[in-house]
Amino acid sequence: MAQISRRLRKWTNEMLDLPQDVLLDLPRITLVGNKELSVENHRGVRHFSENRMILSLSQGSLEVEGAGLMIRAILPQEVLIEGVINNIKYIGTGESS
């Protein structure tokens, strides 16, 4: 069933040309320079320190590396990170999963 619904959603997405984050529950990441990072559709904070931050996503997680990182604000669906951002990396988001 799950597979059918996913396929249906993928098909409607292609047919109707809708943004993927709306239908597929994917994160939308906005990066302002290397100073500000806004992640929508996250699934919580997994690790949190000054230099490294890991956010859970619907599939896998997102690793942010930098210096002096802080969470400016956090809401159930959205998080705004400030600091000097050096590296953004996806972990465990293979096509297969």
């Binding site: 949190f48 969470i71 400016r72 956090i74």
Partner: protein, 398 residues
């Protein structure tokens, strides 16, 4: 973006959280919809964050569930300030009292200026204004409207054509436009004009009254020139103020003596300055010590006190100029001496009998030179005003 609005006004606290899994707490907070911001990790197991004061008590079960501990590190916002202010009541009372006193004092009348009055005394205007309620230390809100006040003042002040009352801050300006009144003539009693001296009338002009003499009439001292009685002097007469101008020829005899050697003091130009500092009624000499080198001198003193506005202060400066004087002698010829004497006499006549007197003729009757002086007897014939006022006394009747 997601920081609650007016967090300063609503009050927020900065808390330091300690625990194995601070991120669990953050997730729990986010899920339960409690606004939390400025989360800054300080070490592996501690983090600072800000929450609203409103949500502070909702934190406790979440902390328990995630096994974290926290303590408040900073209190921010108005509610905490209010608590502090409440603890310092007298400070707050003083602040309120300050503004109240400021407000009260600025709603008092402090100054009253009166402008534009020339004949009216300022004190009189202020007195009338006081009756109308304009006085120093009066409440401004107890004053009437300016147009009412100006109407009242202009009714009460005689001799004004317009009175304006204007308030600017704590100062009230009363502007006065005085009515142009005709000049009042001095009150005079009915009178005659009589002759001041023996003379021969040279011209007579009666403005009011009845002329009794004519040109070239010889008059005695005290003779009526212009009568103040109109009519026949019996039942149908009327007393008026005699006015007019009567000129007559008068003879003045002068005994003059003029010394032939005239002594005069002349400045040589040499001088010495002395400066004093004046304190009260003492003067301390600062400059110009030493003996005076002049045989004969004249001293001019200038006192220059320090003034503030129009008040002379007891501190000042005084300078003395000691000027050397030399006596100059001048020897006159007899003719020059005569001229000098006559000029002096003419000046005396003009001063005594009016500057519009005219010297008709002058004659040296007698002249002699004796003891270095010239003695002269001079007769001047002068045309001058001879009229003098003589009041009419009613009870005597005429």
């Amino acid at each position: 973006m997601k920081i609650p609005t007016l967090s300063g006004l609503r009050g927020c606290v900065m808390i330091t959280v300690r625990g194995e899994h601070v991120n669990h707490l953050i997730n729990a907070l986010a899920e339960s919809g409690i606004p939390v911001w400025d989360i800054r990790p300080t070490s592996d197991h501690t983090a600072d964050m800000k929450v609203l004061l409103r949500d502070f008590h909702a934190l406790r079960p979440l902390l328990k569930r995630t096994g974290c501990r926290m303590h408040v590190s900073r209190r921010i916002g108005l509610p905490f300030r209010m608590v502090r202010l409440y603890n310092r009541k007298f400070f707050a009372v003083g602040m309120i009292a300050f503004f109240m006193i400021l407000f009260l004092l600025s709603s008092l009348v402090w100054n009253i200026n009166v402008t534009g009055n020339e004949k009216l005394a300022t004190e009189d205007v202020l007195k009338v204004a006081r009756q109308a309620g304009i006085k120093p230390f009066q409440w401004i809100f107890r004053l009437d409207e300016p147009d009412k006040l100006s109407r009242e003042l202009s009714m009460k002040l005689p001799g004004t054509s317009w009175v304006g009352v204007e308030r600017k801050g704590t100062t009230i300006t009363i502007q006065i436009v005085e009515a142009a009144e005709p000049e009042k003539k001095p009150l005079v009693e009915p009178r005659h004009l009589v002759s001041r001296t023996d003379a021969v009338v040279s011209s007579i002009y009666a403005e009011q009254g009845r002329p009794l003499v004519e040109k070239n009439t010889r008059v005695k001292k005290g003779q009526v020139l212009i009568s103040g009685i109109l009519g026949d002097g019996d039942a149908h007469s009327q007393a008026v103020v005699a006015k007019g101008e009567v000129k007559g020829l008068v003879w003045h005899e002068y005994n003059l003596q003029v010394p032939l050697v005239q002594k005069r003091n002349v400045y040589t130009g040499e001088r010495k300055n002395k400066s004093y500092l004046v304190l009260g009624n003492r003067a301390i000499q600062l400059w110009g010590y030493g003996k005076e080198p002049f045989a004969k001198s004249e001293t001019i003193t200038e006192h220059d006190p320090l003034t503030w506005r129009s008040i002379a202060l007891p501190i000042g400066w005084m300078t003395e100029k000691v000027m050397e004087v030399q006596e100059a002698e001048e020897t006159l010829q007899q003719q020059e001496a005569e001229k000098l004497g006559i000029q002096g006499a003419i000046r005396d006549i003009l001063a005594k009998y009016g500057s519009d007197s005219q010297i008709i003729s002058q004659k040296i009757l007698h002249e002699k030179k004796e003891n270095g002086k010239v003695y002269m007897k001079v007769l001047f014939e002068v045309e001058e005003k001879i009229a003098e006022e003589l009041p009419l006394v009613h009870s005597q009747g005429e």
